[in-house]
Symmetry: C2
Protein backbone atom coordinates (compact mmCIF):
# COMPACT_ATOMS: atom_id res chain seq x y z
CA UNK A 1 0.00 0.00 0.00
CA UNK A 2 2.84 2.39 0.82
CA UNK A 3 4.61 4.03 -2.13
CA UNK A 4 7.77 1.95 -2.26
CA UNK A 5 8.34 4.05 -5.34
CA UNK A 6 8.95 7.76 -5.57
CA UNK A 7 6.73 10.32 -7.25
CA UNK A 8 9.20 13.14 -6.77
CA UNK A 9 7.63 16.59 -6.83
CA UNK A 10 4.16 15.10 -7.29
CA UNK A 11 4.27 13.96 -3.67
CA UNK A 12 3.99 17.60 -2.66
CA UNK A 13 1.03 18.15 -4.94
CA UNK A 14 -2.36 18.60 -3.30
CA UNK A 15 -4.08 17.70 -6.55
CA UNK A 16 -2.19 14.43 -6.91
CA UNK A 17 -2.71 13.36 -3.30
CA UNK A 18 -6.37 14.35 -3.45
CA UNK A 19 -6.80 11.99 -6.35
CA UNK A 20 -5.03 9.07 -4.66
CA UNK A 21 -6.83 9.62 -1.35
CA UNK A 22 -10.20 9.99 -3.04
CA UNK A 23 -9.77 6.76 -4.99
CA UNK A 24 -8.54 4.94 -1.88
CA UNK A 25 -11.62 5.96 0.07
CA UNK A 26 -14.16 5.55 -2.71
CA UNK A 27 -12.93 2.07 -3.61
CA UNK A 28 -13.44 0.99 0.00
CA UNK A 29 -16.85 2.63 0.24
CA UNK A 30 -17.99 1.33 -3.10
CA UNK A 31 -16.91 -2.21 -2.27
CA UNK A 32 -19.03 -2.24 0.88
CA UNK A 33 -22.13 -0.53 -0.57
CA UNK A 34 -22.11 -2.30 -3.89
CA UNK A 35 -22.37 -5.62 -2.12
CA UNK A 36 -25.69 -4.36 -0.73
CA UNK A 37 -26.94 -2.75 -3.95
CA UNK A 38 -26.79 0.82 -2.67
CA UNK A 39 -25.62 3.20 -5.41
CA UNK A 40 -23.95 6.03 -3.53
CA UNK A 41 -24.27 8.65 -6.27
CA UNK A 42 -27.98 8.09 -6.47
CA UNK A 43 -28.32 8.20 -2.69
CA UNK A 44 -26.51 11.54 -2.58
CA UNK A 45 -28.92 13.07 -5.08
CA UNK A 46 -31.96 11.71 -3.26
CA UNK A 47 -30.68 12.99 0.08
CA UNK A 48 -30.00 16.42 -1.42
CA UNK A 49 -33.48 16.66 -2.91
CA UNK A 50 -34.97 15.46 0.35
CA UNK A 51 -33.13 18.15 2.32
CA UNK A 52 -33.68 20.91 -0.27
CA UNK A 53 -37.16 20.56 -1.71
CA UNK A 54 -37.70 22.54 -4.91
CA UNK A 55 -33.99 22.75 -5.69
CA UNK A 56 -33.23 23.39 -9.33
CA UNK A 57 -31.65 20.58 -11.26
CA UNK A 58 -28.78 22.69 -12.60
CA UNK A 59 -27.95 24.09 -9.17
CA UNK A 60 -27.72 20.60 -7.73
CA UNK A 61 -25.52 19.49 -10.64
CA UNK A 62 -23.14 22.40 -10.07
CA UNK A 63 -22.90 21.75 -6.31
CA UNK A 64 -22.27 18.04 -6.77
CA UNK A 65 -19.82 18.71 -9.62
CA UNK A 66 -21.90 16.63 -12.00
CA UNK A 67 -22.29 17.77 -15.60
CA UNK A 68 -25.74 18.98 -16.62
CA UNK A 69 -26.00 16.38 -19.36
CA UNK A 70 -25.23 13.63 -16.85
CA UNK A 71 -27.68 15.06 -14.31
CA UNK A 72 -30.46 14.99 -16.88
CA UNK A 73 -30.07 11.24 -17.27
CA UNK A 74 -29.75 10.60 -13.53
CA UNK A 75 -32.82 12.63 -12.60
CA UNK A 76 -34.90 11.18 -15.42
CA UNK A 77 -34.06 7.72 -14.15
CA UNK A 78 -35.04 8.66 -10.59
CA UNK A 79 -38.30 10.12 -11.88
CA UNK A 80 -39.14 7.00 -13.90
CA UNK A 81 -38.72 4.94 -10.75
CA UNK A 82 -41.01 7.23 -8.78
CA UNK A 83 -38.34 8.51 -6.40
CA UNK A 84 -38.36 12.21 -7.34
CA UNK A 85 -40.76 14.63 -9.02
CA UNK A 86 -39.72 17.18 -11.65
CA UNK A 87 -41.85 20.34 -11.82
CA UNK A 88 -41.61 23.51 -13.90
CA UNK A 89 -41.71 26.47 -11.50
CA UNK A 90 -44.18 29.20 -12.65
CA UNK A 91 -41.68 32.00 -12.05
CA UNK A 92 -39.11 30.54 -14.48
CA UNK A 93 -40.45 28.08 -16.94
CA UNK A 94 -37.01 27.15 -18.26
CA UNK A 95 -36.13 25.52 -14.96
CA UNK A 96 -36.84 22.18 -13.32
CA UNK A 97 -37.59 22.08 -9.58
CA UNK A 98 -36.96 18.76 -7.88
CA UNK A 99 -38.83 17.30 -4.94
CA UNK A 100 -38.81 13.93 -3.24
CA UNK A 101 -41.66 11.42 -3.30
CA UNK A 102 -42.78 9.39 -0.29
CA UNK A 103 -41.04 6.41 -1.82
CA UNK A 104 -37.88 8.46 -2.38
CA UNK A 105 -37.92 9.68 1.21
CA UNK A 106 -38.36 6.11 2.45
CA UNK A 107 -35.39 5.06 0.33
CA UNK A 108 -33.22 7.79 1.85
CA UNK A 109 -34.22 6.82 5.39
CA UNK A 110 -33.63 3.11 4.84
CA UNK A 111 -30.18 3.65 3.32
CA UNK A 112 -28.95 6.57 5.43
CA UNK A 113 -27.34 4.65 8.30
CA UNK A 114 -25.76 2.14 5.93
CA UNK A 115 -24.22 4.77 3.64
CA UNK A 116 -22.96 7.04 6.38
CA UNK A 117 -21.53 4.09 8.28
CA UNK A 118 -19.72 2.81 5.22
CA UNK A 119 -18.28 6.24 4.51
CA UNK A 120 -17.16 6.60 8.10
CA UNK A 121 -15.47 3.20 8.13
CA UNK A 122 -13.72 3.96 4.85
CA UNK A 123 -11.23 6.31 6.56
CA UNK A 124 -9.81 4.07 9.30
CA UNK A 125 -6.39 5.70 9.44
CA UNK A 126 -7.48 9.03 10.91
CA UNK A 127 -8.65 9.80 14.43
CA UNK A 128 -11.60 12.08 15.16
CA UNK A 129 -9.53 15.22 15.53
CA UNK A 130 -7.67 14.58 12.29
CA UNK A 131 -10.95 13.97 10.49
CA UNK A 132 -12.32 17.32 11.65
CA UNK A 133 -9.18 19.14 10.51
CA UNK A 134 -9.28 17.36 7.17
CA UNK A 135 -12.97 18.19 6.67
CA UNK A 136 -12.28 21.86 7.30
CA UNK A 137 -9.40 21.96 4.84
CA UNK A 138 -11.35 20.08 2.17
CA UNK A 139 -14.24 22.56 2.55
CA UNK A 140 -11.77 25.37 1.94
CA UNK A 141 -10.42 23.64 -1.15
CA UNK A 142 -13.96 23.12 -2.43
CA UNK A 143 -14.76 26.78 -1.83
CA UNK A 144 -17.40 26.02 0.81
CA UNK A 145 -18.02 28.14 3.92
CA UNK A 146 -16.69 26.85 7.26
CA UNK A 147 -19.06 24.80 9.37
Amino acid sequence: MAPAISFGPMENSIGFLLRIAQLTVSEATFAELNRRDVPIGEFTILLSVDLNPGIRQGVLADRLRIKWSSMTKLVRSLEERGLVVRQVPPDDRRAIALSITDEGHARVESHKALVLGAIERSVPTLNEQEKQILLGLLRKVAGWPPL
Copy 2:
Protein backbone atom coordinates in the same frame (compact mmCIF):
# COMPACT_ATOMS: atom_id res chain seq x y z
CA MET B 1 -19.56 28.19 -5.42
CA ALA B 2 -20.65 27.91 -1.78
CA PRO B 3 -23.23 25.28 -0.97
CA ALA B 4 -26.29 27.50 -0.61
CA ILE B 5 -27.98 24.14 -0.23
CA SER B 6 -27.56 21.62 2.57
CA PHE B 7 -26.14 18.13 2.25
CA GLY B 8 -26.98 17.21 5.84
CA PRO B 9 -24.87 14.39 7.24
CA MET B 10 -22.88 14.15 4.00
CA GLU B 11 -21.18 17.41 4.90
CA ASN B 12 -19.38 15.54 7.67
CA SER B 13 -18.28 12.81 5.31
CA ILE B 14 -14.61 12.70 4.37
CA GLY B 15 -15.43 10.62 1.30
CA PHE B 16 -17.97 13.12 0.01
CA LEU B 17 -15.77 16.17 0.61
CA LEU B 18 -12.78 14.39 -0.91
CA ARG B 19 -14.78 13.90 -4.07
CA ILE B 20 -15.95 17.52 -4.26
CA ALA B 21 -12.50 18.91 -3.45
CA GLN B 22 -10.79 16.60 -5.91
CA LEU B 23 -13.12 17.59 -8.75
CA THR B 24 -12.76 21.27 -7.87
CA VAL B 25 -8.99 21.07 -8.09
CA SER B 26 -8.76 18.76 -11.09
CA GLU B 27 -11.17 20.86 -13.14
CA ALA B 28 -9.00 23.92 -12.54
CA THR B 29 -5.79 22.03 -13.30
CA PHE B 30 -7.20 20.34 -16.36
CA ALA B 31 -8.53 23.61 -17.76
CA GLU B 32 -5.08 25.19 -17.60
CA LEU B 33 -3.08 22.21 -18.88
CA ASN B 34 -5.50 21.17 -21.57
CA ARG B 35 -5.17 24.58 -23.17
CA ARG B 36 -1.49 23.74 -23.62
CA ASP B 37 -1.95 20.13 -24.70
CA VAL B 38 -0.35 18.59 -21.63
CA PRO B 39 -2.19 15.42 -20.54
CA ILE B 40 -1.60 15.23 -16.80
CA GLY B 41 -2.23 11.50 -16.44
CA GLU B 42 0.35 10.74 -19.07
CA PHE B 43 2.82 13.14 -17.49
CA THR B 44 2.41 11.42 -14.11
CA ILE B 45 3.21 8.02 -15.60
CA LEU B 46 6.23 9.36 -17.49
CA LEU B 47 7.54 11.10 -14.36
CA SER B 48 7.08 7.93 -12.32
CA VAL B 49 8.94 5.80 -14.85
CA ASP B 50 11.67 8.43 -15.07
CA LEU B 51 12.13 8.43 -11.29
CA ASN B 52 11.80 4.65 -10.89
CA PRO B 53 13.54 2.96 -13.81
CA GLY B 54 12.64 -0.71 -14.20
CA ILE B 55 9.39 -0.40 -12.25
CA ARG B 56 6.87 -3.09 -13.00
CA GLN B 57 3.78 -2.04 -14.86
CA GLY B 58 1.39 -3.60 -12.35
CA VAL B 59 3.11 -2.01 -9.38
CA LEU B 60 2.82 1.42 -10.97
CA ALA B 61 -0.85 0.79 -11.75
CA ASP B 62 -1.55 -0.16 -8.13
CA ARG B 63 0.26 2.89 -6.76
CA LEU B 64 -1.49 5.28 -9.11
CA ARG B 65 -4.85 3.56 -8.51
CA ILE B 66 -5.19 2.81 -12.20
CA LYS B 67 -6.67 -0.53 -13.27
CA TRP B 68 -4.27 -2.97 -14.92
CA SER B 69 -6.37 -3.14 -18.06
CA SER B 70 -6.26 0.66 -18.35
CA MET B 71 -2.53 0.73 -17.66
CA THR B 72 -1.91 -1.72 -20.48
CA LYS B 73 -3.45 0.67 -22.98
CA LEU B 74 -1.73 3.74 -21.55
CA VAL B 75 1.73 2.16 -21.53
CA ARG B 76 1.28 0.66 -24.99
CA SER B 77 0.43 4.11 -26.28
CA LEU B 78 3.50 5.63 -24.64
CA GLU B 79 5.65 2.86 -26.11
CA GLU B 80 4.27 3.40 -29.62
CA ARG B 81 5.20 7.05 -29.35
CA GLY B 82 8.73 6.19 -28.26
CA LEU B 83 8.43 7.67 -24.77
CA VAL B 84 8.90 4.50 -22.69
CA VAL B 85 10.43 1.06 -23.21
CA ARG B 86 8.80 -2.19 -22.04
CA GLN B 87 11.19 -5.02 -21.21
CA VAL B 88 10.67 -8.54 -19.86
CA PRO B 89 12.98 -8.98 -16.85
CA PRO B 90 14.95 -12.29 -16.97
CA ASP B 91 14.15 -13.12 -13.34
CA ASP B 92 10.38 -13.09 -13.93
CA ARG B 93 9.29 -13.44 -17.48
CA ARG B 94 5.64 -12.76 -16.69
CA ALA B 95 6.45 -9.17 -15.79
CA ILE B 96 7.02 -5.96 -17.72
CA ALA B 97 9.72 -3.54 -16.55
CA LEU B 98 9.31 0.04 -17.67
CA SER B 99 12.04 2.53 -18.44
CA ILE B 100 12.11 5.98 -19.95
CA THR B 101 13.56 6.88 -23.33
CA ASP B 102 15.60 10.01 -24.02
CA GLU B 103 12.58 11.47 -25.72
CA GLY B 104 10.38 10.56 -22.73
CA HIS B 105 12.84 12.16 -20.34
CA ALA B 106 12.93 15.31 -22.44
CA ARG B 107 9.12 15.40 -22.40
CA VAL B 108 9.11 15.17 -18.60
CA GLU B 109 11.64 17.96 -18.24
CA SER B 110 9.87 20.25 -20.66
CA HIS B 111 6.50 19.80 -18.96
CA LYS B 112 7.56 19.61 -15.32
CA ALA B 113 7.45 23.28 -14.40
CA LEU B 114 4.19 23.81 -16.25
CA VAL B 115 2.39 20.88 -14.61
CA LEU B 116 3.63 21.53 -11.10
CA GLY B 117 2.82 25.21 -11.42
CA ALA B 118 -0.68 24.50 -12.62
CA ILE B 119 -1.28 22.07 -9.78
CA GLU B 120 0.05 24.55 -7.26
CA ARG B 121 -2.14 27.37 -8.59
CA SER B 122 -5.19 25.12 -8.51
CA VAL B 123 -5.44 25.35 -4.71
CA PRO B 124 -5.54 29.12 -4.16
CA THR B 125 -7.64 29.03 -1.01
CA LEU B 126 -5.03 27.46 1.28
CA ASN B 127 -1.90 29.03 2.70
CA GLU B 128 1.42 27.15 2.86
CA GLN B 129 0.91 25.83 6.36
CA GLU B 130 -2.58 24.57 5.55
CA LYS B 131 -1.27 22.86 2.43
CA GLN B 132 1.37 21.00 4.43
CA ILE B 133 -1.20 19.84 6.98
CA LEU B 134 -3.56 18.75 4.21
CA LEU B 135 -0.79 16.86 2.42
CA GLY B 136 0.05 14.96 5.59
CA LEU B 137 -3.56 14.01 6.24
CA LEU B 138 -4.11 12.94 2.63
CA ARG B 139 -1.02 10.73 2.81
CA LYS B 140 -2.49 9.06 5.88
CA VAL B 141 -5.79 8.51 4.11
CA ALA B 142 -3.97 7.04 1.12
CA GLY B 143 -1.99 4.74 3.39
CA TRP B 144 1.32 6.33 2.52
CA PRO B 145 4.20 6.82 4.99
CA PRO B 146 4.77 10.34 6.40
CA LEU B 147 7.26 12.52 4.58
